[in-house]
Symmetry: C3
Subunit: 312 residues, 3 copies
């Protein structure tokens, strides 16, 4: 594997899950693999879990992480082709990506979507530019349309907590006050489509995700129907895809409650707004897997870095 | 020892001072103790000495420090119980603390007081929340009401420079243009109360510290009387405790001068505003211990981390 | 060598170039030299290449880098002598430099000029203060008037790509929309003056660099004349030195084009504004050495740190 930029880069999700569980059991078994190798973590946007877990994963492999907040520590990066750069951007991605490749053995990038320009977001401007102009492997730490480290994490977590051979997993939209990206939902959908689960989606009308991603997955517009016999309820807000980036629904009836999910396990990528997306009673119950998901972020990242290091 | 959040966590200050001096003599003697262990340093507020010395201490123990400016690198954290999070905070401390605990073997936190809400500050909202919701040990890198790494540092420094068996130590308030916290003063008072010194406080009327902390310690409202025969003059501004967080006095006559302190050693936690808190002639003289105090910050932090690591 | 703050600190540029090339061939040969030693990187200004390459250089020597954005992570630093500090600065450089020296074995500093106060900039207020008040070696990561890590990098790169024994090297001004410092140009001039090259400068009238630095170097005010038979065209914008810090010329005819430079190698320190300073056709051609320059930043920094470490 060269890059890890999408769930589609996982060749066999079941074997990846097994490998990640092995790393979790013995997290220092490859502590010499990344010795004297550097992971550059470039943040165009805020981060807590990804920032810390990816550093921790690198350290578990003996790598040296170098963190940079691109906008705050450096300056505006230009992505346009042929631009006369007499505006607010001071360095072109062609140079920036090639230059960072001189100092880092692997580059991990976080760059959120605009949520205003669908075509630009779907072109994955930043991530694609790094893939094109960097000379070292690229890891996606959440891009405009995907968050494959989270998707892999979620697959691992479901595998760990499944009590039946083919559990029912529901991805449910929930309300939020801000317009949020589709990245986490997209990667979760793609991960579930690769696993041996019964997978359905629940979201209000007008909130269907990109049909090229959801494909044949059943979409309910009635949450109660979708939740019937669910083993896992994975919750996430996203803004409208059709009416791109807009908030057309904040219906509090879509908030996740203990009553609604019963004994199903609750999952969320975090950060989560309590009593907006999900009520306290769920998050504070034994049904919540959110902290264990966060824990598994380390091993998802560690597995990805390990596979890239082995291929350098 | 699990957490180090207050001077009260020191069981025997004299033996701690001896242990810190031993680390100072041979700062790499435990360089394998923290191998493959991670210290998370979370800053809700600015820092220079604490930021650098705590990282250095971790490195001296072979630990991997990971630094995060919480507000700048991530987002607003919610501390309220049962809050409907439809405002400016994006993640609850319940999740944040539990999540960071997945990636760090020890978490160090800096979070200053509001200086507007005494009850909230005295509840140590941030520090208490980390103690409650984190699953790993917590180190206080200055909280609303205490700065115990500084207090330990100061005890070490006084022990190193004492020329008599029971030196006289004066904590003196000095003027400042901004409303400052009581944390450093509180921890210094608590440290001195544990040491075999003659300890008094000098501050203007209306500026007495929290009486639950000062206890039986003599408080002078006349600086000259307090300074008589002093061996050490420890200086610090703080805002009013009674008229909470207010600046009711900026009397330049309380500034520390060479004339006032004579041969006494001058101490300050830094940063210090020259010619407002203390005149150049003091800071630039051999009587000043401020740089040596800063040096001892490393060994105070290293001792605390070592004790926690030995107990993991 | 104690400090590295100017190209003048290079005793023999040819032997330094040879040593840097040896490090490039075997970049981990001194990986134990800096073990348990700390490099503090203090940024008063933004940085990308310098931030990453200097960390990478430290890691190649086994050092622990600690990075701090002074203004963002800490507070305003006072440089005035005898100042009554009742304004926006909270800590004097006398304390700050001495304190950081307690935690770092070497301190690297970046501090740009004001471009409004020539005398202050030429006094190198920040860098000089660190040299004066720090007790450990200082490395200049670009100061008001010099960028000697870049100058050394450029000397290495020219040496690697020279096809004749005494190549012709031209430093050419190019237009820019912002007022930029003279630091890179100054250090490049000083480096070329030490090398066995035919060196000339091309800039518009009114844009001559500090004559104390350019000395006997020929200055053309006609770019075409200067470029004749050039082997290397090093391009950089700078604001006026005479009319200090002003932009009096943005003539697009000074932009570097493929037509102008022919087969000459193109060099620039980066970041570079495409199609303002230089056209795409140059940067995207085989003639461009800019990425290789960025690569050599690591070995220039590594050589400097190595020489300092060997002398500690």
């Amino acid at each position: 594997m060269k890059n890890y930029t999408s769930i589609n880069d996982i060749d066999n999700i079941n074997s990846w899950i097994d490998e990640a569980k092995a790393l979790k059991t013995n997290h220092l078994k490859d502590v010499n693999l990344g010795k004297n190798k550097t992971l550059g973590l470039l943040f165009f946007n805020s981060s807590l879990r990804t920032r810390l877990s990816t550093q921790k994963a690198a350290l578990n492999l003996g790598m040296n992480p170098i963190v940079m907040n691109v906008s705050g520590d450096a300056w505006g990066i230009e992505f346009g082709d042929g631009t006369v750069m007499n505006g607010n951007t001071a360095e072109h991605i062609k140079e920036a990506a090639a230059v960072v490749s001189q100092y880092c053995d692997i580059i991990a990038v976080r760059a959120f979507p605009s949520l205003t320009d669908k075509a630009k977001d779907e072109s994955e401007q930043v991530l694609s530019a790094f893939k094109k102009f960097a000379s070292v492997p690229i890891v996606n730490m959440e891009s405009a349309t995907g968050h494959p480290l989270q998707g892999l994490t979620d697959a691992i977590t479901i595998s760990e907590h499944a009590k039946v051979s083919k559990p029912k997993v529901v991805l449910s939209w929930a309300p939020h006050i801000k317009a949020l990206p589709h990245a986490v939902a997209n990667s979760f959908v793609q991960a579930m489509q690769k696993m041996d689960v019964e997978f359905v989606i629940a979201n209000p009308e007008g909130y269907d995700l990109n049909p090229e991603i959801t494909g044949n997955t059943t979409i309910y517009h009635n949450q109660e129907d979708a939740f019937k016999d669910a083993d896992f309820v994975y919750t996430k807000n996203w803004s409208s895809y059709k009416d791109y980036g807009k908030i057309n629904n904040t219906d509090p009836n879509w908030m996740i409650t203990k009553d609604k999910i019963g004994d199903a396990k609750f999952m969320h990528c975090l950060p989560v707004r309590r009593n907006v997306v999900v009520e306290d009673a769920v998050l504070d119950s034994k049904s919540s897997l959110v902290i264990e998901q966060a824990n598994n972020r380390t091993y998802a990242a560690q597995l990805v870095l390990k596979k890239i290091l082995e291929n350098l």
